[in-house]
């Protein structure tokens, strides 16, 4: 059965591969046909067989499509084609009457009916069918039943002796396909070409020769100076192939179809099957080639050969032996290679190799640096082209190749001062020939390097950060930096300011996130441990800070695009913050006014901004400016999306909100792992600063209705901690902070201290700072001070007076510090007390309102707003009905109002007096 499903074109190539002797020859003929056969030969044949064949050809074509549709179970298509077939059959009624119903037609009808019945039985399959198909199936089944009634006898006879009729049929079919392949049927030709190409392994030498000539002839069309020796080749080959296919031609001379048919019908079935299998394998192999040909299909067989250029790359015969290799020739060749660029079928790897070969030839012949530079440019460009998809990243080895190329290019550029390159140099105004004039080459190194840098980032993004591979890749960063440095020095001499700005920014981007340990050590006055290290230090030209400063200032002064300047500022701030130069960093941030308009920037810049803010916050924390640290981190942390905002990973939560496309874009924005900011450190810094601010505030405003949360996230953590049914010793960083907060609430600074600074937290967080010890000392100090404040807020009501000495002992702070803290609290009216100097005690005033009084105050406030709201309703009513109501009422209301206002005023006055009498003024409180 499967044999019957074979398509016409299949059966044609089937035939061609059915016997070994034939396989080697038949395609040869076909391709020769297209190549060599003169037109008139074909024409005559067509004329002779027109009347009958034309109709039958139409029918067979339709049958072919039906069989195809049957194979893929496309019932809708089947039905459509069948209807067409019926119509076509009616048209050819005359011929049919003369000749009798053709066997292949009967065969199709019988097969189709069988097939449909089979499908009909197959309940499972029917269920799976889509609605369209199922409908088409039932219609078609009915139709064919009705239709077949007319051919009952024929079908019966066919069924009796299917073999015979099949053979007979096949004859016809082949005859048809033969004719169709002869006529300008593209499909047939393509197949034959395919089979020719895939045949290559068998008759390798022959094929390659053939190909070579073909290629040569391709060259012929482009380069005129190799005519003679190509012609020779060509002639020889045509002879060869001619002899090979001699008997075929003979057959064709008489009756091409019958010559084939005899052989085919004589081959037994098993042979055919085998051949079929073999053919399939070949087909697969040919698939790749076919791809290449597909593109140039329309341009005829010549083009196809040209697409096959990569095949001969083993022995690149760029130029004919005798050719004088000079610049124009090479340029021509180069352009020729480049023309294939971007085309679908071009083998990109081969192209790169070709370019390399060309470069080698150019170097061999000393064609001058101009041409070398040009070729190099193109090599790099085609390396970038290797990945058709922008999203995909380059293979590491490709990228390294690219790196080498750029290095070489820069070498050339450095060595030869007389090369001008630029994007604006037109193709025709290039000067590549060695002469007194300087070389002029079109191209832009900067763009190439930028692209290279981007590819590097992409590679880093796509490598698993915890693998050895990542480390290996990261080692290349040095090379990248080296190249950028070289380019920088090159451009400083030659480039425009714009270009310099761009390359500076690249340099900055590679510098800003690195902590300069050497400068740090130097600033601490430490000497390197070993002599060699010291040498190294001395040999180190400048601190990264100085470099950053120089580069950034240049950009500030010269840059005209906003984006580069913004990036430079942010990097500069980041770098300052990283090296604990808090005031410079802050001033720069404030002066740049970036906070006002950063929301208009593009996402990568925003990510950079977020990173900078975070680094700034961490810097402030290290300096002990808790409030600044908290404010800087608030935006990032409060959203709970720090990871996303810093470009350090995507949140799973958002998966359903974005589609695959968006996800890809977002992935491309990610910051490579080695530039990440430790998120746990970030959160810890934030939570600890929130704790230091919030706990005293909470203690101070325990009964205040208008109390606001300073940090929502911190409160959230506290609540999570409270919800725990069983409180074990803290495990995670958050739990530590929560536990510490609880201790601080009681003014127990020692416990708080032990929760914040211990082995676990050291290894998790604090050791990540460059100046660990200093940060820890600062932190202890802060904890002591804030605990003292909290203690005073919480327990001042139980004291009449308290000695500062006791306090200083309790919190291990010096008396002057305690004194200053308490004084500050008194000044800020946070603590209602006074200092008694002679006895060094704090005397409490006990003016805090009781909880009942507090409550009453709150109630009064609420009632105030209630009254206000109520009045508003009344106003509205007046507005609506104002015209209709009598004035008395209105007047009355208005008269009443002053009274109410008086009352309110009185209340407020009273409250004011109350406050002056010693109550804490909420507005004046610290936060």
């Amino acid at each position: 059965m499967s044999r019957f499903f074979a398509t016409g074109s299949d059966s044609e190539s089937e035939e061609s591969s059915s016997g070994d002797e034939i396989t080697s020859k038949a395609p040869g003929t076909t391709i020769k046909q297209s190549l060599l056969l003169s037109d008139d030969e074909e024409d005559t044949k067509r004329v002779v067989r027109s009347a009958k064949d034309k109709r039958f050809e139409e029918l067979t074509n339709l049958i072919k499509t039906i069989r195809n549709a049957m194979k893929i179970r496309d019932m809708a298509k089947c039905l459509e084609e069948f209807e067409q077939l019926c119509r076509a059959f009616l048209k050819s009624k005359n011929i049919v009457d003369k000749e009798g119903v053709p066997q292949f037609y009967i065969r199709l009808l019988a097969d189709l009916e069988d097939y449909l019945n089979q499908l009909w039985e197959d309940k499972e399959g029917k269920k799976k069918m889509n609605k369209n198909n199922a409908k088409a199936l039932s219609t078609l089944r009915q139709k064919i039943r009705k239709y077949n009634r007319d051919f009952e006898t024929e079908i019966a006879s066919y069924k009796e002796n299917p073999q015979e009729s099949a053979d007979e049929e096949e004859e016809k079919e082949q005859e048809d396909s033969g004719s169709s392949s002869e006529s300008d049927d593209d499909a047939g030709e393509e197949v034959s070409a395919k089979s020719f190409l895939k045949k290559k392994p068998e008759g390798a030498s022959e094929a390659s020769k053939f190909l070579k000539t073909a290629k040569g002839s391709g060259d012929e069309s482009s380069s005129s100076d190799e005519d003679d020796d190509d012609d020779e080749d060509w002639g020889g080959d045509s002879e060869e192939s001619g002899s090979e296919s001699s008997d075929d031609e003979e057959g064709k001379g008489k009756s091409l179809a019958t010559a084939f048919l005899k052989k085919v019908s004589s081959t037994d079935k098993s042979g055919m099957k085998k051949a079929e299998k073999r053919k399939k394998q070949k087909k697969e192999r040919a698939g790749e080639l076919q791809e290449g040909e597909g593109v140039e299909d329309g341009e005829g067989p010549w083009e196809k050969v040209k697409g096959g250029v990569p095949l001969v790359k083993e022995k690149p015969k760029m130029f004919a032996k005798g050719t004088e290799i000079n610049v124009p020739v090479v340029v021509k060749k180069l352009n020729e290679i480049l023309q294939a660029r971007g085309k679908k079928g071009t083998d990109r790897a081969a192209q790169i190799d070709l370019l390399h070969a060309l470069a080698a030839i150019a170097a061999e012949n000393n064609l001058g640096q101009g041409i070398m530079v040009k070729i190099k440019f193109n090599i790099i460009a085609s390396l970038y082209d290797y990945n058709p998809n922008l999203a995909a990243f380059m293979k590491a080895d490709m990228w390294k190749k690219c790196l080498d190329c750029i290095d070489e290019l820069l070498d050339i550029l450095f060595e030869h001062n007389n090369i001008f390159i630029g994007e604006n140099i037109a193709e025709d105004s290039e000067n590549l020939i060695i002469s007194d004039q300087p070389f002029r080459v079109r191209g832009c190194v900067l763009t190439l390097v930028e692209r290279m840098d981007e590819e590097f980032t992409k590679i880093m993004q796509n490598t698993d950060p915890h693998s050895q591979e990542y480390v290996d890749n990261l080692k290349d960063e040095g090379r990248v930096c080296g190249i950028i440095d070289r380019l920088l020095s090159y451009l400083e001499n030659k480039g425009s300011t714009e270009e310099i700005c761009r390359v500076y920014l690249r340099r900055i981007m590679h510098t800003y996130y690195k902590f300069d340990y050497k400068a740090h050590r130097r600033s601490l006055g430490l000497q390197g441990e070993t002599k060699s290290e010291q040498d190294q230090e001395e040999s180190e030209a400048e601190d990264s800070a100085i470099i950053m400063d120089r580069l950034c200032k240049f950009i500030y002064a010269k840059d005209r695009t906003d984006r580069i300047r913004t990036c430079a500022i942010l990097c500069h701030i980041y770098h300052h913050a990283l090296h604990s130069r808090w005031y410079q960093a802050r001033d720069l941030m404030l002066m740049s006014h970036l906070q006002d308009n950063i929301q208009h920037a593009d996402p990568p810049v925003q990510i950079l901004y977020n990173r900078t803010m975070v680094q700034l916050g961490i810097c402030a924390f290290r300096q002990g400016m808790i409030k600044d640290a908290h404010n800087a981190l608030l935006d990032i942390q409060s959203s709970g999306r720090a990871k996303e905002l810093l470009g350090q990973g995507l949140l799973m939560r958002n998966m359903q909100e974005r589609n695959a496309e968006q996800e890809k874009i977002e992935k491309r924005r990610q910051v490579p792992f080695h530039m990440h900011i430790n998120l746990e450190l970030l959160e810890c810094v934030y939570l600890v600063s929130a704790m230091l601010l919030e706990i005293p505030y909470m203690a101070a405003h325990e009964f205040d209705a208008r109390r606001r949360m300073i940090s929502k996230q911190f409160h959230h953590q506290l609540r999570v901690g409270e919800r725990q049914p069983l409180l074990g010793p803290p495990e995670s960083m958050r739990e530590h902070v929560v536990a510490a907060s609880k201790a601080m609430k009681m003014g127990d600074w020692r416990t708080c201290h032990s929760f914040i600074i211990n082995e676990k937290m050291n290894s998790k967080v604090w050791d990540l700072f460059p100046e660990t010890q200093r940060v820890r000392e600062m932190l202890v100090r802060k904890i002591q001070e804030e605990s003292l404040r909290t203690y005073l807020f919480t327990y001042s009501s139980v004291y009449d007076s308290i000695s500062m000495e006791t306090l200083s002992e309790m919190f291990e702070l010096e008396i002057p510090t305690v004194h200053s803290i308490i004084s500050k609290m008194i000044i800020n009216e946070e603590l209602m007390a006074s200092l008694d100097q002679p006895t060094q005690t704090v005397v409490m005033h006990r003016t805090e309102p009781t909880s009942l009084q507090n409550m009453a105050l709150q109630l009064a406030e609420k009632l105030g707003s209630l009254v206000e709201n109520n009045e508003r309703i009344f106003d509205l009513k007046q507005g609506v009905y104002g015209g209709y109501f009598n004035r008395d009422q209105k007047g009355g209301y208005q008269q009443k109002q002053p009274y109410q206002r008086d009352q309110k005023g009185g209340y407020q006055q009273k409250q004011g007096g109350y406050q002056r009498g010693g109550y804490r003024n909420q507005n004046q409180s610290n936060y």
Binding site: M855, L859, K862, S865, L876
Partner: protein
């Protein structure tokens, strides 16, 4: 029978014709002490009969507390069973209302309104007894009987809680419920016993009345009061937006009509037929009015709290003066 009772102003009395010592009151108190704690509420059924112009409540039984486990518990079934059993032992078994405990006087709620409405709808003489255990614990028995006013009954029947409906019915928070005076009656024998007990009891037993600490109670009341004020505030804001929307729409409607009129006038002058009439109410759908019943209830509750606080503070002030006088005397 019931109507006559209604006409006479509906006096509720507890009559105990049998030696059941203040049975109902004690039963309610006991019920709370056994089952209710804190802000939890206990409820039960009052039984009795209407005698002339009095409603005599002679007995009661509690609703069983039910947990989530027995969700399929049938309360009605239980009540019927209970009443049948009581009938068997020849006790008054007529359903005349229900009782409920309260927490710092917070009982004016939608739930109470609904159930009291359904009671009063079915059995006209129904009352709800509110028992305040906290006040009782402080030394003075607090029992109050409430009924819905006829006006409110009317509104509830129509389920018309829109601002207009309430305005038409002129129901304010002060005339939602009417309090019915209570007289607790004991049999003579019990009275005699009480007299005797009073003679025997020492002064210290009554000390609770003189407790001077007030802040706790006041704080709680204030807290509750504040919550209610917040709620009321929200409702007012809601109402405010509603009326603003309404007036805006009125204006639009007005403008639209005017424009229409002008156009028609123009058309008339040109001799064209006037524009066809359109349904304006379709064009301008009035915004959904917020239901006002809850606001009313909240206002009633606030009123209740205020009364409570006022009572409490005046009592306490009295106590404080007394204490001061005592101090001075000593």
């Amino acid at each position: 029978k019931a109507s006559r009772w209604q006409k006479n102003g509906g006096k509720v009395m507890f009559a105990f014709s049998f030696p059941l010592l203040s049975q109902v009151v004690l039963k309610i108190i006991k019920h709370y002490q056994e089952e209710g704690q804190g802000s939890e509420v206990v409820q039960g059924v009052l039984l009795g009969l209407v005698v002339e112009d009095r409603l005599e409540i002679t007995n009661c039984f509690p609703f069983p507390q039910h947990t989530e486990d027995d969700a399929d518990f049938d309360e009605v079934q239980y009540q019927m069973e209970m009443m049948r059993s009581l009938r068997h032992v020849n006790i008054d078994h007529l359903h005349v209302g229900w009782y409920q405990s309260t927490y710092y006087g917070s009982f004016v709620s939608r739930a109470l309104l609904d159930s009291q409405f359904s009671y009063q709808h079915a059995i006209e003489e129904s009352v709800v007894l509110i028992y305040d255990p906290i006040k009782t614990a402080q030394g003075s028995l607090s029992l109050k009987a409430y009924r819905l006013t006829p006006k409110l009954m009317e509104i509830c029947k129509e389920k018309d809680f829109t601002p207009e409906g309430l305005k038409k019915a002129s129901v304010g928070f002060e005339n939602m419920f009417e309090e019915v005076p209570i007289v607790i009656k004991n049999s003579h024998l019990i009275n005699v016993l009480l007299w005797e007990l009073e003679d025997k009891s020492t002064v210290s037993d009554k000390h609770e009345l003189l407790n001077l600490s007030s802040s706790n109670h006041l704080e709680k009341s204030l807290q509750l009061l504040m919550d209610r004020v917040d709620d009321l505030n929200q409702d007012i804001v809601k109402y405010n937006t509603y009326s603003r929307n309404l007036s805006k729409q009125q204006q639009q409607k007005h403008q639209y009509l005017q424009r229409r009129q002008q156009e028609n006038a123009q058309r008339q002058s040109r001799g064209e037929p006037p524009l066809p009439e359109e349904d304006i109410s379709k064009l301008f759908k009035p915004p959904q009015a917020p239901p006002r019943m809850d606001t009313l209830l909240i206002a009633g509750q606030i009123n209740n709290y205020c009364q409570n606080v006022k009572e409490f503070t005046s009592q306490n002030l009295g106590k404080l003066f007394m204490a001061e006088a005592l101090q001075g005397h000593n």
